[in-house]
Symmetry: C2
Subunit: 234 residues, 2 copies
DNA sequence: GCGATGCTTCGGTGCCGGCCGTACCGTCCG
DNA sequence: CGGACGGTACGGCCGGCACCGAAGCATCGC
């Protein structure tokens, strides 16, 4: 099979509204059951099952059987990156749908703070990224990021634990990820995942219902102000 | 229109073999006529015309009218990045087609040296990137790249002119771009474009027929050895 | 065992869209 | 002007696939 055909295969997988909805939902990095995904896609269980089988066959999804449930999640950060890229291009290049895109409260919440696979995105993601730059943990210019030599200890000062060492599994430590809503790069990679985990584990943010959006807790607001020097988002 | 639907729209545009072939061909950064694109896609002119109209309507392509010709090119480096990303994921995650992918001489040429929109890729792209790192022009780690403070003069030592200054049009100076065949990041961004231009203008490489592949000229081999310290590719 | 639940497989229907033949429009050239 | 050429609009054909209903498996709980 030629390369263009392989690309077309991936494209057509992303090109169905039901599958796109499922993939978008899985962008929060969690694993969901076929039934949940059927609901978000607005199709019946048997239709969803077919979609999920195709996505898994193409190794875009990974499944874990657990009892009578099948948990589906994105197969890798690379796949998450692909989806984020497509979303960004869609946002940028597709002509505006119609007048104002009438952003609902849900959209506003998403833009303010959300997860992007396993790291922070949206206004919160940008602010945290900027704070880490300001505190000398990472450098972030030219749309590219690097961990500074002293980054690890400064990170520890912020209360975030992070194992040093080379990238495992080829996953970069500090990767830039172009933000879908902000259109500037935010922090991704292993460091981004660690930061996000710190925020979730420390109850600084909480997941909003079943979406990618995050709600910043009172404790989180305090920490952002005291430790990160962030007073305003977005 | 919701975000998943916008993503699906992009996906379905990439998801047709004929359109995928056209986009793949345009990855060399040049502008081609509708007739040429029809030929590479293996469809008639009227079919190609419809495809191109749809791609342009979605702002994935830009057209320039010139006499009775219409030249089509990728709308932006972002679109090129999107396509490269999809190709890479397709290569990595799609199950192997059948036994050995029987790479033809054409494929070998592509893997050795090619353009990726407007910068160098393949074995040559990796080698040049590594050489620039070794010579202290750029730093490239963690899958991210930055221009060093002394990079500009060291670049001039290599005979490559480059305007300094901030990114114009928001395009980063030194961006990493994950190589489709090598699966490591190579140099992209404005610097990558300048390097590629230097290689083409200086006749160090020449385009191979109508593909993205590049042939390294004798002069190019000499320059690679003498100036870049590159003796072996890939 | 039996039912309930979660998921998949199968069969059939309907629609979207890719494709081409034909015809039409604009540009270049003799 | 008239023909050649590149490109575009229209109409009809047809294959693929998204969808659902019904039925078939697996697993859990009683």
């Amino acid at each position: 099979m030629s390369t263009p055909n392989r690309m077309a295969e991936i494209g057509s997988l992303l090109g169905d509204p039901a599958r796109a909805a499922m993939l978008g939902t899985l962008m929060d990095g969690r694993a969901l059951t076929a039934g949940e995904l059927a609901r978000v896609a607005g199709v019946t269980a048997q239709t969803a099952s077919g979609h999920l089988a195709r996505l898994s066959a193409a190794n875009l999804l990974a499944v874990e059987r657990q009892g009578r449930h099948r948990y589906h999640r994105l197969a890798s950060p690379d796949v998450a990156g692909l989806i984020e890229t497509v979303m960004r291009i869609a946002e940028v290049s597709l002509p505006a749908p119609r007048a104002r895109p009438r952003t609902g409260p849900r959209d506003a919440q998403m833009r303010l703070a959300r997860t992007c696979y396993d790291h922070l995105a949206g206004g919160l993601g940008m602010a945290v990224t900027d704070a880490l730059v300001a505190r000398g943990v990472i450098r972030f210019d030219d749309g590219a990021g690097t961990f500074t030599p002293t980054g690890l200890e400064r990170l520890a000062d912020l209360g975030i634990a992070m194992e040093p060492g080379p990238a495992r599994g080829g996953r970069p430590l500090c990767r830039p990820c172009l933000d879908w809503s902000e259109r500037r790069p935010h922090l991704a990679g292993r460091l981004g995942a660690a930061v996000c985990k710190h925020f979730l584990d420390g109850n600084l943010v909480a997941r909003v219902d079943g979406s990618r959006a995050l709600r910043i807790t009172p404790k989180g607001h305090l920490a952002l102000r005291e430790r990160f020097g962030i007073t305003e988002l977005g």
